[in-house]
């Protein structure tokens, strides 16, 4: 649905976005996460050409956006909805009139606009709020108006620019649930940028982490979360960093997903080996519909390397604190 090829944006000598490549398929929710200044705003604005890329191509639904200008570009933009952190609703218009605006621009008749606006208000669960002005709505309601406005022209793609960053946690959850719902109900493709890991965890299928204009990690959210060394996993499951293991102990991070989560491997560990297994930290989250978890374990005792070997064989992703893999540790200590 969205193909991004070698996209670059340079301001003077500052490289805001460095050779970004991605293929986002229809019906996917793709997240771009990064700190402010990482280039994610630049990226999303290059997709609908609010900013003109220095080089590279953006192809949305088979149309090369980078090659368009004038009225062709405006028509192409109507096929992409966009929602914003601060909602960007016109204060001089009611909720219904805000939603009607893209339709007015497209030249819809008054009658069609009225029918479509009513449809959209119910889609975002704002029935009865059509005549309220933005100043009379809560943050969550304003964002719902923003979403309805973005979807007014029935676009294939929704661009979300930090759309939940100005909302409280509870409202954030309800907006994310709405986006996920729309994604499933009408097959909407969503490209969202955020600095909030929670958003990625909650609704994204795939993610790219941007740092100083470069992608430092990308992949399916579940896959990344189940790899102990990934940046995403380290953000999802914060580890103890200052803990010093006992001299006869190993500090091990175990990541797992799916069925393994149901296996009592910690109990087995204690039964089969002469080892003390001490959980320092850990969590299991549901990501993409399956359990994904990570434990930080201290293995102490004479058979700790055998225990480590067992964990590795269990199809768990295992990482020993000093960065070496389990096998390397085992070989080192059993010459």
């Amino acid at each position: 649905m969205i193909t991004i090829r070698d996209l670059r944006k340079v301001y003077g000598s500052f490289v805001a976005l460095d050779t970004f490549n991605e293929e986002i398929s229809a019906g996917e929710i793709f997240g771009v996460i990064g700190q402010s200044g990482a280039g994610k705003s630049t990226l999303i604005r290059c997709i609908n050409r609010l900013e003109t890329p220095t080089s590279g191509r953006v192809i949305v639904a088979g149309q090369d956006i980078t090659a368009l200008s004038g009225s062709d570009l405006r028509r192409a933009r109507q096929q992409m909805g966009m929602i914003f952190q601060h909602f960007n609703l016109l204060s001089s218009r009611t909720a219904a009139e805000n939603i009607a605006m893209p339709l007015e621009v497209m030249g819809y008749s008054r009658l069609r606009i009225k029918a479509r606006v009513a449809e959209l208000l119910s889609l975002v669960e704002l029935e009865g709020k059509g005549d309220s002005y933005p100043a009379q709505l809560s943050g969550g309601q304003k964002q719902r108006v923003g979403i309805a406005r973005a979807l007014a022209a029935d676009p294939k793609v929704l661009l979300s620019d930090e759309s939940t960053s100005a909302l409280d946690p509870q409202t954030t959850q309800s907006i994310l649930a709405l986006l996920k719902d729309l994604n499933q109900k009408i097959g909407l493709t969503i490209l969202l940028i955020t600095h909030d890991m929670g958003v990625v965890k909650r609704i994204c299928d795939r993610v790219a982490i941007l740092e100083q204009g470069k992608v430092i990690e990308r992949g399916r959210v579940v896959d990344l979360a189940a790899q102990p060394h990934s940046r995403l996993a380290q953000d999802f499951f914060p580890r103890l960093t200052s803990y010093q293991p006992r001299p006869d102990a190993l500090l091990v991070t175990v990541a797992f997903r799916g069925e393994v989560a149901n296996e009592p491997f910690m109990a087995t560990l204690a039964q089969r080996f002469n080892v003390g297994a001490n959980i320092l930290n850990g969590a299991i989250e549901t990501i993409g519909g399956q359990p994904v978890g990570q434990f930080q374990i201290e293995l102490a005792g004479p058979e700790r390397y055998l225990a480590l070997d067992y964990l590795t064989q269990l199809n768990l992703a295992v990482e020993v604190q000093d960065g070496r893999t389990a096998t390397e540790q085992f070989v080192d200590s059993n010459p």
Partner: protein, 236 residues
């Protein structure tokens, strides 16, 4: 109060209202597009053009730096060209309008620049043309500030119209000078001043009420910064 004085006051009031309202209307009609042009060709506008922007800025500053009384006399030939005469209330309209146009252009520029750039971005993202952005975003969103700016301009025109007597334009200021000052008739002076004060209060109250209604804040009370004492009296 004798009938002659009353009639003089009435005529002068009507002359003032005529001069102020017509020149205000004309100034708004010509000033708003100029303000828009300043914003659009400005560095943050969607058609940045430093030559047009700075050129227009110079002209506006130039006209604004002329004291009104000088402008009034200096453009007499232009006045004759436009209205065919250089005396009377209608002749005074030309300098009054000319002085107010650049004033309102600046007021409109300030009001339009205050529109959140995020709104313009949202409009662009939904496929609006520049013209759509002007008529659907910039002007509607700046309406409260435009109305307050217009109020400011109308009141300054009330002041300027007092000088219309120089070209035989009449009005309250002229009456005050000729009867109140030159004929030492203190009553006339006091009456005209009272009428002028009432006029200005009325204009300010009207402007504030309209701007408040355009603000679409629901039922939030207007900020104390621009509440008018009369408006407050009216509420209770």
């Amino acid at each position: 109060m004798d009938a002659q004085l009353l009639s003089n006051l009435w005529t002068a009031t009507l002359e003032t209202i005529y001069m102020v309202s017509v020149s205000s209307l004309l100034a708004a009609v010509f000033g708003l597009p100029l303000g828009l042009l300043l914003v659009i060709t400005g560095a943050r506008g969607f058609l940045p053009n430093p030559a047009v922007n700075q050129g227009l800025g110079w002209v506006i500053n130039g006209v604004r730096s002329l004291p009104f009384i000088i402008l009034l006399v200096a453009i007499l030939p232009l006045t004759r060209l436009i209205v065919g005469t250089t005396i009377g209330s209608t002749a005074a309209l030309v300098p009054l309008t000319l002085s107010a146009v650049p004033f309102f252009a600046r007021v409109a520029e300030t009001a339009l620049l205050e529109v959140d750039p995020g709104l313009v971005e949202a409009a662009e993202a939904m496929g609006c043309s520049h013209w759509d952005i002007v008529r659907k975003v910039l002007i509607p969103e700046s309406r409260p500030a435009l109305v307050l700016g217009l109020t400011l301009m109308v009141i300054s025109l009330v002041g300027n119209s007092a000088m219309a007597g120089v070209v035989g334009g009449g009005g309250l200021g002229d009456l005050a000078i000729r009867y109140g000052f030159q004929r030492f008739d203190t009553r006339v002076m006091v009456y005209t001043v009272v009428i002028l004060i009432a006029l200005v209060q009325l204009i300010q109250w009207l402007g504030d009420s309209v701007a408040y209604r355009l603000r679409r804040t629901g039922n939030v009370a207007p900020s104390p910064g621009w509440t008018n004492p009369l408006a407050r009296l009216r509420k209770t």
